[in-house]
């Protein structure tokens, strides 16, 4: 999967705000730091970002507010013009598209969910969901049928005629999700979709989202400032600071092997046992595999905590979902993770 | 000549003159637009004239306008006539418009107009010798107000009426100071309040005017108006000053017409030339509205009903 052609790829993407960012950027020879740029009177929102996103992958971009994550996702959809660098979507340089080409791309390939829902207040749920189809010029009957399908998918059946303000925040975001899915996009951008919701609702929506993703298998770029959320959802996480990516990796590796001090600070308080999977921690099978019940590779260390404590073997076999042996887990390593000590 | 007879004579004459063309040149079906202003006699008179035109088969519309700006409008044909052109108040605006061209004099009414300093009747007891101006000057202090100090106050009309009261005070060496009210309403409001307090007041007034029906009073008698009083210092009591005289005691009251009216509505135009009201009739029209509380339209109807003999001859040629 990872070898396949990436769906989205950005190469050396810069985004500066200020008077004449292009000429400034052209004028500096090496890579200027965030501070350099600030002193020159510009604000850096993206600094030399290079990133590939594979088909069907869920990439979570994580960073604190002002770290440039929202700008980055807008560069990927060209809601924001990049200052320099290229963004390629399905092998097409989107910076080179004219307005119509861009509209076509968005009408057929992309969907986006927004933090504050961004629903049109004068339209009902049904009309909001059907909006992108209407823009495409689909006929009234078809778009109604399709919109009803998606509304059902997000569990808002029976609320089709409500207006956004008549719904709770969670319900409104379901509308936002339904709208972004109406055109059956291949690429799905979600800009802090659950940040405006209460913690309980947020949890519920995350579950819902995982269910949808299981079903639909889209390429997803998901923005969040909530590290827990990132860990819970991501295939890979990109951690951003001051417009640059500090580390892109799987949750397990970020937790176990932070690339920078900044990332390390983030994971300090994380209960790693909830993140690290047995399959990831396991070493290769060298020589004779230990016998006995294997632990599942997809289980987190936390999931198998009881066994780790009770099972006195030093090495545990790890098997994938089909039961095939994929590795050996050193019990000591796992216990270190479980009790939050450095392995 | 009695107005009736005069009107009849003019009517007959003009009917004779118009007869050959009258048969062919019918009035246009466009409405004749008559301007109305913010005093009742003019509004009623406009409606009387309008209703006469309607009786002749014309259509008429009324539009309320400023009484000074109206001459510009007549000149341009935005409105088509003016039924009350006062010598004192509008002579200047009328003459200016006349000079620019586009409107012309459509004859005088029988009425005479007078604009002059005026006092309500009860002041006479307080200041013996009135209405003579020198007697007034002797009691100047009685008319003093805080803003005029020890001098008497004369309450003049709005400055744009151009009455030269200050010049007159100067020329006649009077102990008065002119304070200009901003509108006729302000004049009447002050008069009303002064009467309540039984306070002496001398203010600008004119006839014919509805206020005559509410408040009794008299005009001050200044040295009589004479030709050249406004330009030539040598005449009058003060040999070194102009304006040492009163206003004309019998000013004209005219009608004015747009130049195009003659050709567009010949019959109505002829009627306009014929029309002539007297002071009594004008006062009566004002009274119908201001005292009897009729609407101007109703007042016009009532007046027409009561005065058929007067207006029949005016429109005789057109019916």
């Amino acid at each position: 999967m990872a070898d396949a052609q990436p769906v989205i790829s950005c190469r050396g993407v810069w985004k500066l705000y200020g008077k004449t960012p292009e000429s400034y950027l052209a004028g500096v020879s090496d890579t200027p730091s965030f501070e350099d740029i600030r002193r020159a009177g510009y604000i850096a929102a993206a600094r030399d970002v290079t990133l590939d996103i594979a088909a069907g992958e869920m990439l979570v971009i994580m960073g604190l507010s002002g770290s440039g994550k929202s700008t980055l996702v807008r560069c990927l959809s060209r809601l924001v013009e990049v200052t320099s660098g290229t963004v390629t979507v399905e092998e097409q340089d989107i910076g080179a598209l004219d307005e119509n080409g861009l509209i076509e791309l968005r009408r057929n390939k992309m969907g986006m969910v927004f933090q504050n829902f961004a629903l049109l207040p004068n339209r009902t749920v049904l009309e909001n969901v059907a909006y992108p189809l209407e823009m495409r010029g689909q006929d009234r009957h078809d778009r109604r049928a399709r919109a009803l399908d998606v509304i059902k998918l997000v569990g808002l059946e029976g609320r089709e005629d409500y207006f956004p303000r008549e719904l709770s925040g969670g319900q409104q975001q379901r509308v936002g999700i339904a709208r972004s899915l109406a055109i059956e996009p291949d690429i799905w951008f979600l800009d802090e979709p659950f940040s405006a919701l209460d913690p309980l609702i947020r949890r519920e929506m995350q579950d819902e989202f995982l269910r949808l993703q299981d079903m639909l298998g889209k390429t997803i770029v998901f923005i969040t400032h909530d590290f827990d959320e990132a860990l819970r959802l991501a295939d890979r996480i990109a951690i951003m600071k001051d417009g640059a990516i500090e580390q892109v990796d799987t949750p397990d590796r970020i937790v176990l092997d932070p690339a920078t001090d900044y990332v390390a600070k983030f994971i300090e308080d994380i209960d790693k046992a909830h993140v690290v999977h047995a399959g990831h921690l396991a070493g290769p099978v060298k020589g004779a595999a230990p016998r006995g019940d294997p632990v599942a590779a997809t289980a987190t260390i936390h999931d198998i905590a009881r066994r780790l404590v009770e099972d006195k073997r030093a090495r545990l076999p790890v098997a994938d979902t089909s039961g095939k042996l994929v590795g050996v887990l050193k019990r000591q390593d796992a216990l270190d993770v479980l009790f939050g000590e450095q392995p | 000549m009695r107005p009736f007879a005069k009107a009849l004579a003019i009517g007959a004459l003009s009917a004779a003159l118009m007869a050959p063309t009258g048969a062919f040149a019918a009035d246009s079906s466009d409405p004749i637009i008559i301007p109305t202003h913010n005093w009742s006699s003019q509004i009623v008179m406009s409606h009387v004239v309008g209703k006469l035109f309607e009786k002749m088969g014309n259509s008429v519309e009324y539009v309320s306008t400023d009484s000074q700006a109206v001459y510009e409008a007549v000149r341009l044909g935005d409105v088509h006539l003016e039924v009350e052109v006062w010598e004192g108040a509008f002579g200047v605006a009328f003459n200016e418009a006349l000079k620019k061209g586009g409107l012309h004099d459509a004859g005088d009414h029988d009425a005479v107009t007078r604009e002059e300093w005026w006092y309500p009747a009860y002041v006479e007891e307080k200041c013996p010798g009135l209405p003579d101006w020198e007697a007034l000057n002797k009691c100047a202090e009685m008319f003093a107000t805080p803003e005029t100090g020890s001098k008497g106050r004369f309450l003049g009309g709005p400055v744009d009426w151009l009455k030269h009261d200050a010049e007159r005070v100067e020329a006649l060496g009077m102990d008065f100071k002119v304070v200009n009210a901003g509108s006729a309403s302000a004049l009447w409001a002050e008069l009303d309040a002064a009467k309540r307090r039984n306070q002496p007041i001398v203010l600008f007034n004119w006839t014919p005017n509805f206020i005559e029906a509410i408040h009794e009073g008299k005009f001050i008698e200044f040295p009589a108006y004479f030709e050249g009083c406004k330009d030539d210092p040598s005449g009058g009591p003060n040999p070194n000053a102009t304006y040492d005289c009163g206003n004309p005691a019998n000013g004209y009251l005219k009608k004015a017409a747009w130049d195009g009216m003659k050709d567009k509505w010949p019959a109505a135009y002829q009627a306009l030339l014929n029309i002539s009201f007297t002071n009594a009739q004008i006062a009566e029209m004002a009274k119908l509205v201001d005292i009897d509380e009729l609407e101007p339209e109703e007042a016009a109807e009532a007046w027409l009903e009561d005065n058929e003999d007067t207006w029949k001859p005016w429109i005789a040629h057109g019916v």
Partner: protein, 654 residues
């Protein structure tokens, strides 16, 4: 790299501006003190300094009108407007024009108004709007009111459309907005009469001129609200539209405009209110109806009847205000699935049934079609008696007050203003400007005041300034405590705001008469009329400012054991001050408008000259005078807004 490497920005601190400003003010005082030693050129604007703006304007207008033939264009447009007015005039009061089917019976219109009121705001609004039209009919003012409405129903949609288009253009093209903004600022502070003279020249007289002057006056707030609304659309909504693949037009049509709906409708509300404010003034150039009647009745000193008309105008204004506001803030509500069509369209059906009844009634009972003036009811005797009673009651007080004010305050104050060398006034204003907003504000003040001096109307402007100064001080002395009192409870605030609304929409000409009766023709009367009008915004903004203080802060003060008085002085007033400052600014604006109208009492300021310009149809003079008034307003506006914004920033509110 350390922080020290960043150079400290060389911006003048507020304290430094303060000090420079104070020094300039001191210089101004010295200039004034040394008046005897000053050359004449510094005492009065010298001749070479005065430019013939009026001639230039007249020349430009003549060029536009005659040489460019703009008059044909404006007249053609006016004819189009007139055609529309003829249609509404026929429908509403049966003017003999196409389509010749009117007039619509009053019962039908009253019922319609009631149903619209109900749809927008329930029973209370239904009662208000239906009741207003019943009052109009019963008081025998139907035809006049319909004459007024026939113009307003044409002017309002045109002003809304024009404002919307200009607003869209201003939003779309920042360069256009940059040009438009100052024009709007000036337009909104020009006295009404200044608009009228060019309209007479380009359009003529009559209902169409009334409609057009109304449109000109009512459009600026619509433009402002449209731009504001479009700018306030959350970027996310636009991005969501973009991500749905909307073209620019689709984005505007489906996302931007609907999301800006509330602001745009508030703009519509403003247009309606401005139109009603013009009802009386526009009758100077031929707008028929209530305004025209009102002026005629006032001319004949018929207070009772005038008050009846005044009440009608207030009722119409409040009805239209409440209805359009209800419409602006109305949120869509869905019907449950399977609701039958007659339930969905219940109100429409009820309305159809009611007007059918009304039409039938009107066909058989003439009173249901039209109530004749003679049959009408009147309260004029009662109002007259009320006015008489009030005059008798107040007369002794006002007589004494009048002498005192004139002798001890107004005459000295006016003399002082007139005595001041103009160079000292300019310097003083520059100093104040510098204290409040630094060099830029000093320049702004200097430019406005300098232009007034260059216009040749310096002395007149100083009289206006003296009247405004005194009127604003008294308005504050009355309006502020009143606002403080009214802000104590929700109920009081509501009543006070309703009174403010009424005072603001009640035709100001009606005040003029009793004020003259009480004070006579002099500056006391003029200033009195200005105060009646000017204290309204003072009171309103004080209430809004005080009630807008965050409740936590008041709770904190309570917990610190503050007494009511302490709370007011230490918490509420300081926090409400920026808002109150906006109120003072508004008071100045209102007073400037009113001082021009007070020329009808008799003043010797810019207003009197404006009146002359109007009757002489002198476009150049009228506009120059209007601009003098506008510049005074804009100068105060600049200073007040600057101060208020700085203060708000310092307090961390807004």
């Amino acid at each position: 790299m350390t922080d020290a490497a960043i150079p400290a920005p060389a911006i003048a601190t507020p304290q430094r501006d303060q000090r420079i400003g104070q020094m300039i003010v001191v210089a101004a005082v010295l200039l004034a003190a040394a008046k005897v030693a000053l050359p004449d050129g510094l005492i009065r604007p010298p001749d070479w300094f005065v430019l013939p703006f009026a001639d230039w304007i007249n020349w430009t207008f003549a060029f536009l009108k005659d040489d460019l033939g703009l008059i044909y264009l404006t007249r053609a447009f006016a004819d189009g407007v007139e055609w529309l007015i003829d249609i509404t005039a026929n429908l509403l009061y049966g003017k003999n024009r196409w389509p010749r089917i009117g007039p619509i019976p009053w019962t039908v219109i009253a019922v319609t108004a009631g149903v619209v009121g109900y749809a927008l705001g329930g029973w209370r609004l239904a009662l208000l709007s239906g009741g207003t039209f019943v009052w109009i009919a019963v008081m025998g003012q139907w035809e006049w009111a319909m004459e007024t409405m026939s113009v307003i129903v044409v002017a309002v949609p045109l002003a809304v459309a024009l404002g919307l288009v200009m607003g869209l253009l201003a939003w779309r093209y920042p360069r256009f907005e940059a040009v438009l903004n100052p024009v709007l600022n000036i337009a909104q502070s020009l006295p009404h009469f200044a608009y009228m003279i060019p309209v007479v020249v380009f359009i003529g007289l009559g209902p169409k001129a009334g409609a057009i002057v109304t449109i000109i006056f009512a459009t600026p707030p619509m433009i402002r609200m449209t731009v504001l609304g479009l700018k306030k659309v959350p970027p996310e909504v636009i991005e969501s539209g973009q991500m749905c693949g909307s073209t620019r037009w689709q984005l505007l049509r489906h996302a931007r405009v609907p999301t800006a709906r509330t602001e745009i409708l508030v703009g519509v509300n403003q247009v309606i209110m401005q139109s009603l404010a013009m009802v009386v003034l526009a009758s100077f150039i031929g707008m028929p109806g209530l305004g025209e009647k009102l002026l005629q009745l006032l001319q004949a000193l018929r207070m009772g009847r005038s008050i009846e008309i005044g009440i009608t105008i207030v009722l119409l204004a409040i009805t239209l205000d409440r209805c359009s506001k209800a419409w602006a803030y109305r949120q869509p509500v869905h019907f449950e699935r399977g609701t039958p069509w007659w339930v969905r369209n219940k109100l429409l059906l009820i309305w159809l049934a009611l007007i059918a009844v009304a039409f039938t009634l009107a066909a058989f009972i003439p009173e249901a079609h039209e109530i004749k003036r003679r049959q009408a009811f009147t309260l004029s005797k009662q109002f007259d008696a009320g006015v008489d009673w009030m005059l008798v009651l107040l007369d002794p007080i006002t007589l004494a007050l009048r002498s005192f004010l004139i002798v001890w305050i107004l005459v000295p104050l006016q003399n002082a203003y007139q005595w001041l060398p103009f160079a000292a006034v300019l310097t003083f204003l520059a100093g104040i400007g510098w204290m409040i907003g630094g060099a830029r504000s000093a320049l702004v003040c200097l430019a406005y005041a300098g232009l007034i001096a260059m216009s040749g109307w310096w002395d007149r402007a100083m009289i206006t300034a003296y009247m405004i100064t005194f009127a604003v001080i008294i308005s504050m002395m009355i309006g502020l405590p009143l606002g403080v009192w009214a802000s104590r409870s929700e109920g009081r605030a509501k009543i006070a705001l309703l009174i403010c609304d009424t005072a603001q929409t009640f035709p100001s000409f009606i005040y003029l008469i009793p004020v003259v009766m009480l004070f006579g023709v002099n500056d006391v009367a003029a200033i009195g009329a200005v105060i009646v009008f000017g204290m309204v915004p003072m009171c309103r903004y004080t209430i809004e400012g005080l009630r807008g203080v965050p409740p936590e802060l008041i709770e904190a003060a309570d917990m610190s054991g503050a007494t009511r008085r302490q709370k007011l002085w230490t918490v509420k007033l300081p926090l409400a001050l920026p808002t109150i400052m906006v109120g003072i600014n508004q008071t100045v604006m209102f007073s400037l408008f009113m001082v021009i109208i007070a020329a009808f009492i008799g003043t010797r300021d810019l207003g009197q000259e404006m009146q002359r310009a109007l009757s002489a149809t002198d476009v150049g003079k009228g506009l120059v005078l209007g601009l003098c008034v506008a510049f005074m307003g804009l100068m105060v506006d600049h200073l007040a807004m600057r101060w208020s914004a700085d203060r708000k920033k310092a307090l961390g509110i807004d």
